[in-house]
Subunit: 173 residues, 6 copies
């Protein structure tokens, strides 16, 4: 059994993320999709709850015909101690050998913790980019084509784009 | 879609838990198995990490032929504020209508939060009981027959029973 | 202006507490009633939320004709660092000179922090005792006469005694 | 009984805040003034402790002849989980139906939690503005006329404006 | 350079602890004395602050003629996640190879984290025992001979034994 | 015995810091070097763990011939409550009279807590500046001459400058 983790915040889960998942599943038996900053929601950077992110990813997987037996969806809250973070992750997920990541800090921390590193191709990162997608949700530009269609219909069903527009301009609670 | 959650600590996941899961899946479209006290491990009451509990439940499900598309495995850390707990859960999991529980506090908190309550039959609770199983692991009595066979072989593969015996007598760190 | 604080958990606020408040208001210009363990509720030791405790004390005060301008009701969460606790309190309340307490640890910590100590008479502590009152709520014995009548009618209006009976037997979530 | 809450940081409490309180008390029987970010003090954005804010508001209320029986002053620490925040508030305060707020995030979170929303008029928000008042305290411009006179004399008695000037330029502890 | 850590709570530091330190310094170049539960004080199990424990150990070392260049005194707060604890320790102290411990949980956690284990002889554990020493302080029995003489004079100078007697009978704050 | 504390983050410990330590040791019998933000590491502002900072300071002290009996190295995590911070420090370190600091907030908080203040000369603060040194590590400019030679060789031995370059560009985990 060759298992790996794929950490991200998935705010929201887009087609770039989906490509990384598929790329990972070609190389690994099982993939743990690790949903970071699980305690956050209703902010400009983190509009969706962990539960909403679990649901949007599950729907995207079904749409793609990826069986629930190939992956895990694990939310994890922030711990605010970088040197301990990789071990915090290890506590929350089934044992794994590989880490899929491009973020230099994530790579560094898992390298120090002895994990195998898999760097995926960039899959058009300029286009498929969560920060940009959230910006389009606010300005009203087309964002639906950048995410799996099940994700865009889910976000609309919970009025997630409206939520984002509503909290724009909130300086600080 | 009728979705429910089933909260527990699953230290370890035993045949009583499995019966509740099956009972729930007959009544619901999807079940979120909520793994509580996720931050705990290596104690007499909570020997296994959240990740180990995820893995043992997944194996038990496969053994039973239950598809990964019917359920979610979500670890959640303690929050230490009972009045907020049910809403903390709602943040971590996909939206749900029903809660499967027998614990009076859990029932009370979700009732106050407006959830539908499903009380499962007891499924021989005196026999299938996590506290008892952990005790048998320590004393060396037969415990393997009380859990799904995939769970007992997983626990042995990680030497989980040995871990428990080793930390007996640890007063306090 | 001579101001003092009176720390307690007030689970629930009873006639002994009320006597201490009156005793304090004879000696001080203003009294801060400090509601400790504010994050706790729905347990056998701490059944009521901070908000419920604020409300029951306010009602008891009105019943006694004590003006809201003579006292403050301030909830404070636990901090779990005894050596810092008295300073944590100082941050949460208007400046004060005196502390009303009988608990030896509370006395010790405020003495070290330089406060004046006022030890009230015991006011029949064996009878007016929160632990005992919670026990009577569970067993169904008469408890209503041990608290101000506004407190007993408030607790009944929120079914607080029923809540306590319901969570009895809850081992641990 | 129609009760509402009015959340804010009140750094410091100014004439705009006072107008909202009066506006609220015309519409409600009782008002809970909720003092947020209670754990903060001695920073440029949050110079005053929760206790100092309680005291300045109490003094302003007395100056206005508003009885302590019409309102509550409740400090509450941050919880850093937006989706749970409205329920955290509910735990800390007496039960309420209405929320007075203009901040879009606060409105959103309480709407989702089922509260009635009261949006007050802006009361010359460009002029009565905490950020601006703190800036004037630092630069030495006239700020005293923007707050109730009891607030300005209280701040001067604790040398609060001097504190603010002293910590200017503190990059980070 | 061969460096090791010696974790303990040292409530108080006694002659058994001193013997372990000497035993360790014969085997290692440098020793990190790790003062656990650093956030605790003023309780029956943890009467002394981290700072007081640092000071008593330093005095005992000087009394023994052990140079400050051979050891480190590092306080560390609890983290409440056993699976991460050993890595939390690694973050707080200079890099080390060996761990001196007898507590089974501590041994287990550091073994899993890849450290070398050194189990010291018991050094008359029945006699030199912190729990017993704290009990003697309360009952007034002779305890001074069980700790280094610099420790007993330090504890008396801060009236530490009196503090312990004072907080006896404090049920719970 | 005249003892003082010198708080800082020491990211990294440079020649300016060393000059302050020497200046302090001329005025005090013992100095507690307090290593703040102990929980942080692997960020652009806080690249080194508390343990690495302890080790680099110890090496610098040895290089200077300063005996380990003259000073203490105490890491302390952030507490996020300014009004309580000085008392949190007092809990972690041996009792002290004086504080060496230039940061206005630190000065203010310890003045309010009753400590004696020692303001050291600036020792060429424009040149010996941690922010600048971290910047040079990233850009590859000469930084080695700005820190004690034992510190530069230690940082190189753990590849600390490489770590910093590696995490540049990490937006946010």
């Amino acid at each position: 059994m060759h298992r790996g983790i794929y950490p991200g915040r998935f705010q929201p889960f887009h087609l770039g993320h989906l490509n990384v998942v598929k790329w990972g599943l070609e190389r690994l038996d099982e993939l743990v999709i690790l949903i970071g900053s699980a305690q956050e929601s209703h902010t400009l950077s983190n509009p969706f709850t962990a539960g909403e992110r679990i649901e949007m990813i599950r729907r995207a997987m079904r749409e793609e015909g990826i069986s629930g037996d190939r992956y895990y969806l694990v939310p994890i809250p922030d711990i605010l101690m970088n040197n301990v973070w990789a071990y915090h992750v290890k506590m929350y997920v089934p044992s794994f050998e590989a880490v899929i990541a491009r973020n230099p800090l994530v790579l560094r921390l898992f390298k120090e913790a002895g994990s195998e590193i898999l760097v995926p191709p960039s899959f058009n990162r300029e286009k498929y980019n969560s920060t940009l997608i959230r910006k389009y949700m606010i300005t009203g530009e087309e964002w639906e084509g950048l995410v799996p269609s099940e994700v865009s219909s889910f976000i609309k069903s919970i009025k997630g784009d409206e939520r984002l527009r509503e909290i724009v301009g909130t300086d600080k609670r």
